[in-house]
Structures are given as structure tokens and as C-alpha cells.
Amino acid sequence: MTRDHNVNEPLISLHDINKVFFTDELETHALTGIQLTINKGEYVSIGGPSGCGKSTLLSILGLLDEPTSGRYTLAGHEVARLGAPERARIRNREIGFIFQSFNLIGDLNVYENVELPLAYRGAPSAERKRKVETALERVGMAHRARHFPAQLSGGQQQRVAVARALSGEPSILLADEPTGNLDSKNGEAVMDLLRELHRGGATICMVTHDPRFTRYASRTVHLFDGRVVEDTHERAAEEKLSQSGFAVA
């Protein structure tokens, strides 16, 4: 990730985003009137209690799902109403995903998993090789390139997942509870890795309900019942964390 660190340039803008799930008898309002801007180079943590809409918001940000209404601008382009193929193309080029359950493909080895976004992009073989090797070096997993996911620990699998997210050099990394399936030691390691990436210029948006890890972010957005109830930048967050007894590293 070698992007310029330009914190004032908006990368993502959500305007009055609503998401309603319709079932046979019920309408469930998962998100209501979300207004959110994420600038390039920001590290945003989205928090809130279970069922508050964190994952729904991340799915919309990652173009895995569509809002029921509202506008979504990514890197200057309106993306809320794109067709499936165009959304897939943007996911491939602009967004890198890190999931709680790693979501590596068991039939593919580490190298092939990391190569996959580049393969879908149609990148030439030499370019794929170079980028995969770089990404694996960055997460410290180059020596495990020919291993299969089942042969790795959870922490190693998540590092491979981060490498896969990085390999396509996306505009933003979206991390959904990246430490949720890890023990505290591996969780810390992954968070350190994300912080390093942020320091290198990466824009990161992370969903977590663990207050220990919100301190890694420069900004915290708090959701409750599908609404943004709090949007706190770095300094304020640190103060808040200090008041709650957590120390900032």
C-alpha cells in the first residue's frame, strides 16, 4: 500500500443511507439516515452493540449489499445503484476485505488465495507473482506460500487474509471483526499489522465491538439501532478511552 497520506480528501461519502429488510410479515430497519464520510488515509472503527447494523453498514460500504435508499460515493463515483458486474469490478479493484472467519478457500494454497483478486482482474502472470510475493512478505507469510489454510494457525490464516486484501492494492481495507476468531496474542498481532498498514497510508474501516481495539483507529463511529449516534476523532477517542480505564499504546 503506497498511497499518499491525504486525510482531507473524501474517499467514501454516505448520504442518508437506509437499509430495510423485508420478510413476509416484517420490515426490519437495519440502517436509518446514515451520514458518513471517510477520508483517504483514515482508520475508522465502527462499533456498537450486537444487531446495531455494524455488519450491514460494512456490507454496504463493501458493495456486498445495496442500500434501500440514499447515496453512496466511492472515490468520487456514485456506486449505490450499480449493477452486479460493475459492483464486482469495484470490489476487485477498490476494496480489500478482511473477515472475522478469515474466509480463505480451502482448496487453494496460500499463494493461490492471495493471487485470486489479481486473477479475477486479469493481471498478467508476472505481475500477479510480484504482487503476491510482496503482499506475503508484508504480512510475514512468504515462507508459507505453498501451504493450505488447514495447515495454518488462526493468526496465520488471518495474516494471509490481510495479504489477500492487500494484494490488489485497494483504496480501502474493510475489516469485519478481524480479531473475533483469534486469541488475544494473535488478535494483537493482527491489529498491529493493520496499524502498520495505516501508517503506510492505507485507509481502513473496521467493525469491532471490542473496545480494546477501537484505540488502534484514528476515528470511532458508534451505531445504535441503525443510526450513527457518535462519531469521535482520535484525540477525543483517546480521552474517552482514558476515562474508561484503557491506556493508549
Binding site: 456486498l64 469490478r89 474466509n103 479475477y120 473475533g180
Partner: protein, 815 residues
């Protein structure tokens, strides 16, 4: 290209890591593709492959028929004068040639060699576009009454009997009857077959020198096959219009024999395959249905696998794979599977072709050209590719419809497949059942037809009768009396063999081909108008024939040695004729006037001296036709079947040969067999169709059973948690058992219902193959529905039992 290679690599990896799935799929499809390849090799060789003549596309066959009695489908032989007029008057045909099959003998070595050949007009080789490899073909100078005794030999006979001696051209060889020779003027190219009828083609001789003056001039003597060469660019319809204009003209000019005359032209290839086409196409459709059932099974496996892979597919989608890309990836995997299955299919086909050729009727045209050749291999490749797409597409599309958000979150781990995918799986199994029912209905109807045929009254006792075909040598037996004496002596001396109960002879036997059909008048009854004369099969027999064949003599008497030229002109009619013309009367003593005998002479009226039971000629499925029997002594035939009733019919051949050699060492024996075998041969075509269709139906049923079993097992696995909850809430094991059986029953009933509708329509096309049973026969369909229901029940039993044994404690935690 690099994406394709990646897909290929991933696909192969995926299959090697799921060996059980891959093995079951490849074997299922391999057997189905192999069966398709084997049947297609027959379709290709017999129906599709161009005939092996340079002019194949323009060669037509022309048959004549009496339109007052028959349709164009009954078009067959024509008289020589009509063929001559056709040749002279046709504007659409470049050439017309007549031919007739012939059997003769080559006198080389200790025993005469029987050869099969054809007497044929000189123009035939121009029509076929064939030239001899060595020497030259015969021409019009050779092909005339009294023409030279010349002949062409096949390459095979030239090599086998003359050691490829090139000096044979112009040499006389001992051929025909002992003491006679023919001059070889040419050797035809290797492998040349004409006519194509299952017999070998060893020689060709000019037709005209073999005809007598009566057959050359009499339009009532109908016995020659005809081919023609359509002029370039002329359609078959134009040829048909042309030949029928000529037929109408001939009808007008010669009403005595040509009233109602019409002609039908068809392509030679279509004509050659007219008897086998329907059966082959039905088998081809049947084997495609088996492949579809196989595809449905593998599609179901893929759907189950897609459910297991939904997370992987969601991940691919999340990192940028479009839906099309995922479908292509999954299709690549299914095409890899189908191509591997195609490879297995080729092995199955190689074995299947050998088996089918071994059991196929010997008179099946072009049997020798059935092979795994390039067109068949291309067909297998194309079918394999299509199969991969057919069974892979629906599961691929279904799999690509993944809810990304749900799937990628842990919460969805324990979720079951969606309703759409479940419906698709049920639909596929119902379709399998429906297709199986269609196949079972087809084979069930054929089985019933076969049983009806086997049980049909033949009118004689086919057990324990040996048949010896003998042809009296014209050079040795020139007079009728000599011929009759030969056969009398043969029956006398063969009758003295140990174990022989009785013996006689006839020139045509039941279930075999007839020698001659003659029209007739009945004295004392109004004469028939031209074109409306009834026709009777005419059979020459020796006394004792009915006794030996155990045919009932219903009235009157058998022939005796006194019936002949010097005695009464006697005739015995069959009950079919008696019922039609002498209903309520005693036919004995009435006189019949057969139009001509085989030499074209008008015969004196014959007195009916007996009435015998009816028999079927050609095959068991033919209804008995009016038949009359005349004494051999009165109307001699050179070629006769000696029928010998003896308990050791199958082993009497050596003794028969010894006796015949003693009587005349040069006397050719054409064949020694049994009536039992002739009966079996007459059923050979139907038996093969029956065997193949039954194998396919059993295969279909097995695949359907596997399909039902797999979907019910899968369903039970998916519903384990639900079943656990039901049991925790108080459901008893029998209730759970019934719950699963009900699910299976619902799919089976839908499949059977759909299959019944499809079978009602599909079996109509089989009408021509059935005997004594209607296409929608309720008894057959009911039996098949019961059988299918039972199979579905058995296939569901194990999964239902598993479900009823679920431990609620474990199941509720099932994830």
C-alpha cells in the same frame, strides 16, 4: 487464456480433493456417455455415413406397387419390361439398372465353394460410379440374352481363392454348376459391397443372359430390384413425379398387369435402412434419455456440493469475481468431469460396440462399418462438452446466487440450502423418475410384444426339425423328372437315417422368405378385374410335408407321388384362403387358375384336394397370408429345403452330408440348420432392440433410485437439526420415518405423473415395433408405476430409517 488455465488448475485440484464425488460422477456419466457412443456408432454407420460409392448422393432405388392394394411403403420389385420402359422414358434419371441376388458355386478344391453374388445390368457400375481395379466391367454387349459367360469377382475372392493372380483376367474358371465355366473380366475394388443386405458380395454377372424369354417379356413377373442415378441437381420429388408419370403411362398401355401401377423412388441409403431406422432412432432417443438422467444425478450432486461450497463462492464473489466468472469457473469444473467421463465412455463404448455387433442380426446393413471412427469420436467429444454444460449450468447458476453478507458471516454457518436450490434438486429427481418411466414403458411394451410373439401360434411344430437347403445342379439335372427324382431319392435315403421320424421338402418355409406370389382366379366365381387379382404365396412341396412340419390338414388329403404331370393337377390351400373365398362351403373339388408358374407358362386349373392350417412367412409378426401348395413334381423348383423331423435335429448335419455326398459327390449343400434356429433368427432384430432398451431402462431405473436415495440422504442430513427439535418436542421415530417417506413419495408421485403423460406421447412412435400390444397399454404402465413406486420406497428406506434414529441431543447441536 491465463484465467482459463487457472480455472482448469483449480478445477482439477477441486476434483482431486473430492475423489468420491468425482468418481461417482465420472462413472455415472461414463457409462451413460459410453452407451450413447455405442448406439451412435450404429446410427452413424447405418443411417448417417454416406454409402461407399462415388455417386452415393444421387443413387435412388425405384420400386413398383399396386396402388389399388398398397401404399408407396410397399414398393418393391418390378418386372423387366417395366424397368426397360422406365429406363427408356425417364427424363430425371441418367441410368437405370436392375439386379437380383444370386448364389452359385466355385469348383476349386475338394468341395464346391458357395459364393453370394448378384446378377446385374451393365449400367449399374456407372450408376454406382465404381470401376474395376483390374480388368474392366461388363458392358451392354455382355448384358444381353445369349451374351457371353463373363463375370466380375470381388477383391476378397480374388485374393482368397486365386492368390491375387493378376493373370486371372480373361481366364475361364469353373463356376456355376459342375462342368460349367465363366470368364473373369475384372476384379472390383477391395471392400465393395453391392447390394448392401448383410450377405457377402463375391461376384457380379450380367443380368440379361440369366433371364428366360418369359421373364424378359411378361409384365406380371415381378422380381427385379431397380436402382437409378438421378441427374445432377434433380430432386427426389422430381424423380418421383417423373417415374409416376411413366407408371401411369404403363398402366394405361398394359392394363392386364399394370392396373394400379405406381412407382416410388427413394434414396438408396434411406431404402437400405428402412427396416432398422425406427428401431435405431428409438434406441438413440432412449440412450439420450439415460444420459439426461445421469446428468440430473450429477447435477444433484453438484447442487449438494455447491451448498457445501457456498462460502467459497461468496469469498470469490467478495473479492471481485463476477457472477459470470463464477459460473465459468464452476462450468470448467463440470466440463473437466464430463471430459473425463467421455474418456471412460469410450472404453465402455468399445466394449459395448463389440457386444452389440455380436448380438445384432446378421442381415443388418453395413454392420462391418460400425467402429469408433473419427465422426464417432467427435460426437463423443461434443456430447461430453454438452453434457458438462447441461449438468453444470443449473447448479453453477444456483451456486452463483449467493447472499454474500449472510454467507460471509459466521451466523450463516449452520444454515441450510435455500428453498430455490431445494426445489431444483427435487425437480431434477422428479424428472429422473419421469424419464425412467418413459424408458421403462418403452422396454415394458417391447417385452410384452416379444412375449406375445413367442406365444403366437406358428401353425406348425418348430421343435426337432432339421433343415437342409439343397440346390439341384442344372447341368446334372436338366429335366423336371430328374430334379424330382433327386429330391425323392434324398428324402428316401435321408429318411432312412437313424432317429429320423419323417422327412419332406419345400421351396419356402414358414418364417422365411417366400419364393413366389401368384395372382389367381377361382373357377366358377366371377373373374377379378385387372389390378384387383388376389395374390397367394405359392410353395412347392413333396408329399409328407404337412406331416413332417406337423401342420394340421383340416380337410381333404395330402399330395401323393401320383400328383404330378401325369396325374391330377392338384393344389392344397390354407385356411386363410378357404375362409376368404369358400366361407361356409367345402373348398375340396373347386378349381383354381394360377396366372402363371415360375416359367411364365399358363397352367391348367388345379383342383383343391386339401385345406391346411395357416402359417406365417417372413416373420412371426406377419399375419398369415393366403398360401397355396403345389406338388414339386408338377412345378419343379431347383432349390429346396429338406425338412427332417428327428430328435437329434441339431446334430444330424454330418450324417446328412455323408448321405448327400454318396448320392452325388458334387451336389452343393447350401446350408444345414434347424427350424428352431430359423425361428430364433426371425426374432433377432426384435430381441436386440429389446435387450438394449431393457438394459437402458434398468440403467435408468438404477440411476433414478440412486437419485432418490441421494436426495433423501442429503435432505435428512440437512434436516438433522429440525428432526432433533421435532423429536425433542415429542415426535416418535415412526412419525419421523413417515415424514421422510412422505417427502420421497411426493417427489415420486410428481415424477410418475409427469412420466405417464410423457410415456403416453413417446410410446406412440414405437407403434411399428409393437406386436399385440397398444402403445398406451394400461397393464404395462400400471406395472411400471408400481415397480417405480417400489424402487422409490426402497431407495428412501435407508435415509428414513437414519432420520428416525437421530439423537435429539446431538441433533440440536448439529451445525
Amino acid at each position: 487464456m491465463s484465467q482459463f488455465i487457472l480455472d482448469l488448475r483449480f478445477g482439477l485440484r477441486s476434483l482431486t480433493r473430492n475423489r468420491s464425488f468425482a468418481l461417482v460422477s465420472i462413472l455415472t456419466l461414463g457409462v451413460a456417455l459410453g452407451a450413447n457412443t455405442a448406439i451412435f456408432s450404429f446410427v452413424n454407420a447405418i443411417l448417417l455415413k454416406a454409402l461407399p460409392y462415388p455417386n452415393a448422393g444421387r443413387i435412388v432405388t425405384i420400386g413398383g406397387y399396386n396402388s389399388l392394394k398398397y401404399t408407396a411403403a410397399g414398393a418393391a420389385e418390378m418386372s423387366w419390361p417395366n424397368i426397360t420402359d422406365l429406363r427408356a422414358q425417364s427424363k430425371t434419371l441418367e441410368g437405370v439398372a436392375a439386379y437380383q441376388r444370386a448364389t452359385s458355386f466355385l469348383y476349386i478344391g475338394s468341395e464346391p465353394q458357395q459364393l453370394h453374388g448378384t446378377t446385374i445390368n451393365a449400367g449399374a457400375f456407372h450408376i454406382l460410379g465404381v470401376r474395376p481395379e483390374l480388368g474392366h466391367a461388363f458392358d451392354e454387349k455382355d448384358d444381353r440374352l445369349g451374351g457371353p459367360r463373363v463375370m466380375l469377382l470381388s477383391d476378397a475372392v480374388w485374393r482368397r481363392s486365386f492368390g491375387s493372380d493378376r493373370t486371372i483376367i480373361g481366364r475361364q474358371i469353373p463356376f456355376g454348376t459342375a462342368g460349367k465355366t465363366r470368364t473373369v473380366i475384372g476384379i472390383l475394388p477391395p471392400g465393395l459391397q453391392f447390394p448392401i443386405d448383410g450377405e457377402s458380395n463375391d461376384f457380379w454377372m450380367p443380368l440379361n443372359p440369366t433371364l428366360d424369354s418369359a421373364t424378359l417379356t411378361h409384365r406380371g413377373v415381378v422380381f427385379l430390384n431397380t436402382i437409378g442415378l438421378a441427374r445432377a441437381g434433380v430432386s427426389l420429388a422430381a424423380v418421383n413425379a417423373d417415374v409416376n408419370t411413366i407408371a401411369r403411362r404403363l398402366e394405361h398401355q398394359y392394363p392386364d398387369n399394370n392396373t394400379g401401377l405406381r412407382m416410388a423412388a427413394s434414396s438408396l441409403q434411406e431404402w437400405l435402412t428402412r427396416d432398422i431406422r425406427a428401431a435405431l432412432l428409438i434406441l438413440f432417443i432412449a440412450v439420450l434419455l439415460v444420459l439426461l438422467i445421469g446428468c440430473a444425478n450429477v447435477a444433484n450432486l453438484l447442487l449438494a456440493r455447491a451448498t457445501a461450497r457456498h462460502r467459497e463462492i461468496a469469498i470469490r464473489s467478495a473479492i471481485g469475481a463476477t457472477r459470470g466468472r463464477i459460473v465459468v469457473q464452476l462450468l470448467t469444473e463440470s466440463v473437466i468431469l464430463s471430459l473425463l467421463s467421455g474418456g471412460i465412455g469410450l472404453l465402455v463404448a468399445a466394449w459395448g460396440i463389440d457386444l452389440l455387433v455380436a448380438i445384432a442380426p446378421r442381415d443388418l446393413p453395413r454392420l462391418d462399418s460400425i467402429a469408433l471412427d473419427t465422426p464417432v469420436l467427435l460426437f463423443t467429444l461434443a456430447l461430453s462438452l454438452a453434457t458438462g454444460i447441461i449438468f453444470g449450468l443449473a447448479p453453477a447458476i444456483a451456486a452463483s446466487r449467493t447472499n454474500l453478507t449472510e454467507t460471509l458471516n459466521d451466523a450463516s454457518r449452520g444454515s441450510t440450502e435455500g428453498r430455490t436450490r431445494g426445489r431444483l434438486r427435487n425437480t431434477l429427481v422428479a424428472a429422473e423418475i419421469a424419464l425412467s418411466l418413459v424408458l421403462l414403458a418403452g422396454s415394458g411394451l417391447l417385452i410384452r410384444s416379444f412375449v406375445q410373439l413367442i406365444n403366437v401360434g406358428t401353425g406348425f411344430d418348430h421343435h426337432d426339425v432339421a433343415v437342409v437347403q439343397v440346390s439341384a445342379r442344372p447341368s446334372a439335372y436338366k429335366e423336371d423328372a430328374q430334379i424330382v427324382e433327386l429330391f425323392r431319392r434324398l428324402t428316401r435315403e435321408l429318411g432312412a437315417l437313424p432317429g429320423v421320424e419323417s422327412i419332406s421338402a419345400a421351396n419356402a418355409l414358414p418364417l422365411g422368405p417366400t419364393e413366389a406370389d401368384y395372382s389367381f382366379d377361382i373357377m366358377g366365381q366371377p373373374e377379378f378385374a385387372p389390378g384387383h387379382h388376389p395374390v397367394a404365396i405359392t410353395v412347392n412341396i413333396l408329399p409328407g410335408y404337412f406331416h413332417t412340419m406337423r401342420m394340421p390338414l383340416l380337410r381333404g388329403r395330402d399330395f401323393t407321388d401320383h400328383d404330378g404331370p401325369a396325374g391330377e393337377k392338384a393344389i392344397i390351400i390354407d385356411e386363410t384362403m378357404a375362409q376368404r373365398f369358400f366361407a361356409g362351403q367345402n373348398p375340396i373339388g373347386h378349381k383354381i387358375d394360377l396366372s402363371i408358374d415360375h416359367e411364365g407358362k399358363i397352367i391348367h386349373p388345379r383342383t383343391i384336394v386339401g385345406v391346411t392350417g395357416a402359417v406365417r412367412f417372413e416373420s412371426l409378426s406377419q399375419t398369415p397370408k393366403m398360401t397355396v401348395y403345389v406338388p414339386e413334381a408338377d412345378s419343379t423348383a431347383l432349390r429346396m429345403f429338406l425338412v427332417i423331423r428327428t430328435a437329434n435335429a441339431a446334430s444330424i448335419a454330418p450324417a446328412v452330408r455323408t448321405v448327400i455326398r454318396r448320392i452325388d459327390p458334387l451336389q452343393p449343400i447350401l446350408s444345414i440348420s434347424t427350424v428352431e434356429k430359423m425361428r430364433a433368427d426371425s426374432l433377432a432384430g426384435r430381441r436386440v432392440t429389446l435387450i438394449v432398451l431393457t438394459i437402458l431402462a434398468v440403467l435408468a431405473l438404477t440411476l433414478a433410485a440412486v437419485g432418490i436415495y441421494s436426495i433423501m440422504s442429503y435432505s435428512v442430513a440437512q434436516r438433522t437439526s429440525e428432526i432433533g427439535i421435532r423429536m425433542a418436542l415429542g415426535a416418535q421415530a415412526p412419525e419421523v420415518f413417515r415424514l421422510i417417506l412422505r417427502q420421497s413419495l411426493r417427489i415420486t408421485v410428481i415424477g410418475i405423473g409427469t412420466g405417464l403423460i410423457a410415456a403416453a406421447a413417446a410410446t406412440r412412435v414405437m407403434r411399428g415395433l409393437l406386436f399385440g400390444v397398444a402403445p398406451g397399454d394400461p397393464m404395462t404402465l400400471t406395472a411400471i408405476c408400481i415397480a417405480l413406486g417400489a424402487v422409490a420406497l426402497v431407495a428412501s428406506y435407508v435415509p428414513a430409517r437414519q432420520a428416525s434414529r437421530v439423537n435429539p441431543m446431538v441433533a440440536i447441536r448439529y451445525d
